[in-house]
């Protein structure tokens, strides 16, 4: 590995994308992801790539659709209100099976909300905020180093499945600095893309990138094929970190909340509590297996989010009523403190957890 450098999350993700062979970026400025856009503006010309400051987030995702259709590794980034605008395009990427990477540095909502870190776009990211039956792989980094690794993985997965991949960060992951290392060596060679619209030269018949199947039965067959692909993602791609598998109580958190919960795990053990953590890394496919591993020994789960309670629904689906699942969340851009979470955890331990 190369030397350590101190980087903001936004910049580290941009650099990781370039190291992963991303050569097309389109985006529209929005806080708190502007550094990603600005880094791409500086860096893309140095590697022979394209940076476009688009007229809107709608245009940016459609530029990614075109660049991805033409075979390039392409990316866009934004924050919550801008990601809402991209949903139409994400649906088309899924329907037409065009790879692409979308970064969301989530901020408080709804509406214009706030510019502070939040996790309130979990539903939108994991359920698909656009129209139609589709799925995107959603990666939730817990550190800047992991953001680098997951960004590089995102391009691999996008190409492997011909599907968009979402990196779900938050304002804090975007803004804070941590030491990071990038892998040495040239960018990985993207796989051959015989389906791409690169001109018919040497191929003969045209390639068509399309999501329209005007006959219902054909459109259903197309959907069945997509669902088959999503099942393969569910089989092969769930990722998670399990801290203290022998614990009695489990915090469940991702991204910035997981960093707070990691501190809580340490403090709780000093207070004599046996506390662990399940940290989903893929938010979709959700790592249900992590819960099966611990549910027999566990007494209860406490999900901690910077939202009014979104991932907790997936936790309940994974636990399937076998143990109580509690929730603690802050909203609007407020980040919970370890003290708050520990106090809530102690209520759970005392059997006064409630369901809030």
């Amino acid at each position: 590995m190369a030397e350590l450098s101190l980087m903001k999350g936004n910049e580290a993700i941009a650099e990781a994308a370039i190291r992963a062979g991303c050569r097309f970026y389109a985006g529209y400025p929005i806080t708190p992801q502007n550094e990603l856009c600005e880094y791409m503006a500086r860096r893309m010309p140095e590697v022979g790539g394209t940076f476009i400051q688009s007229e809107s987030e709608v245009a940016a995702i459609n530029m990614v659709y075109g660049a991805g259709a033409a075979g390039a590794r392409a990316m866009t980034s934004s924050s919550s209100p801008g990601i809402s605008l991209k949903q139409e395009g994400i649906s088309y990427l899924c329907g037409s099976e065009v790879p692409g990477v979308i970064v969301n540095m989530v901020r408080g909502g709804p509406g214009l909300g706030s510019i502070q870190p939040a996790q309130s776009d979990y539903f939108q990211a994991t359920r698909g905020g656009g129209h139609g039956d589709y799925r995107t792989i959603v990666l939730g980094p817990g550190s800047i180093q992991e953001a680098v690794e997951l960004t590089m993985l995102a391009f691999e997965l996008a190409d492997r499945y011909r599907n968009p991949v979402v990196i779900l960060g938050d304002g804090m992951m975007g803004q804070m600095m941590e030491p990071v290392q990038f892998p040495d060596g040239p960018p990985p060679q993207p796989p051959a893309k015989p389906w791409a619209t690169t001109g018919t030269r040497g191929r003969g018949s045209p390639n068509i990138i399309n999501s329209l199947y005007i006959e219902a039965e054909r459109c259903e067959r197309h959907n069945q094929r997509l669902q088959e692909k999503y099942r393969r993602m569910e089989e092969n791609e769930p990722r998670y970190e399990l801290v203290n598998p022998e614990a009695e109580y489990f915090l469940v958190a991702y991204g910035t909340s997981s960093r707070i919960c990691r501190a809580v795990v340490g403090r709780a053990s000093r207070d004599g509590l046996r506390v662990g953590m399940i940290r989903p890394i893929t938010l979709w496919p959700f790592p249900r297996a992590a819960f099966d591993r611990v549910v027999e020994r566990a007494r209860a789960f406490l999900t901690v989010e910077m939202s009014a309670g979104q991932m907790v629904e997936d936790v309940r689906l994974a636990v399937e009523g076998r143990r109580p699942v509690h929730f603690y969340g802050r909203t609007g851009g407020v980040v919970p403190t370890p003290q708050e979470v520990l106090a809530r955890l102690k209520l759970v331990v005392e059997g006064r957890g409630g369901e809030s």
Partner: protein, 249 residues
């Protein structure tokens, strides 16, 4: 025997689904002839719109992408930037280009994207059954202007070519018609010039084709052609509004 007429190689031969009297077939053919004559079909990438021409990807014998409604210029931008040698064109109607896709067309033009836009203006929404278009004429009846378009209530029709010709990134902007054989020939020359401008790397090019929609206008094809001449051409002036090396005409 000398072959003097035939299907352009840049068309697949799949029968068009268009209504009787619809000019889409003529314009498809003209675009295909340009691709053939310029020898660029093998490096062409076309972007199909949402609207009556949505199935254009079945008809052009080159790589094709179907785009979301109005987004074709953004999709074309993505293709052209990563495949600079590709000859990239969009084929869009008036709802797609002049209503829902206004931002995308204006900014593709002002960025000077090296793409060619074929813009079909028939003053009505065809595929959805005859609603008002941004280019519907004042007084024109549609299903959403049942008493005729009233400028004080529905606003004024958009003159796309004049508007885009103002932008520095637009290198070639022309408005043509295909309602009579002489005009078809002039339309062909304009389309060919638009593709040449792309090949010469001069910037954005667009050809607006004033078109008829007999089905949704409630006319016979012949009546519709007369209506183009008598009603559309006085408002949508034909000509080249921008040519390379010159300012706005």
């Amino acid at each position: 025997m000398q072959r003097i007429f035939g299907r352009p190689a840049a068309l697949t031969g799949i029968p068009f689904h268009y209504c009787p009297g619809c000019p889409h077939g003529i314009v498809h053919r003209l675009v295909a002839e340009c691709l053939d004559e310029l020898g660029v079909c093998e490096r062409a990438v076309g972007i199909a719109p949402v609207g009556c021409a949505v199935f254009a990807y079945n008809y052009f014998n080159c790589d094709m992408i179907q785009a979301a409604h109005g987004r074709a210029p953004a999709v074309a931008t993505g293709v052209k930037r990563v495949q600079p040698d590709a000859v990239v064109f969009t084929y869009q109607g008036d709802g797609d280009l002049a209503a829902i896709g206004t931002a995308e067309i204006v900014h593709a033009a002002t960025r000077g994207e090296r793409i060619t836009v074929v813009f079909i203006n028939n003053a009505i929404y065809g595929m959805t059954g005859g609603q008002m278009a941004p280019t519907t004429l004042v007084g024109q009846e549609t299903t959403t202007t049942p008493r005729g378009r009233d400028a004080s209530y529905h606003g004024h029709p958009v003159r796309v070519s004049e508007m885009l010709a103002l932008l520095d990134g637009a290198a070639y902007v022309a408005r043509v018609s295909v309602h009579a054989p002489g005009h078809v020939n002039r339309a062909k020359r304009a389309l060919r010039r638009a593709f040449e401008v792309q090949l010469e790397n001069r910037g954005f090019s667009l050809v607006e084709v004033v078109s008829a929609c007999p089905t949704n206008w409630g006319m016979t094809p012949v009546e519709a052609l007369r209506w183009v001449e008598q009603n559309m051409l006085p408002y949508y002036r034909l000509g080249e509004f921008k040519v390379p090396g010159q300012g706005e005409a």
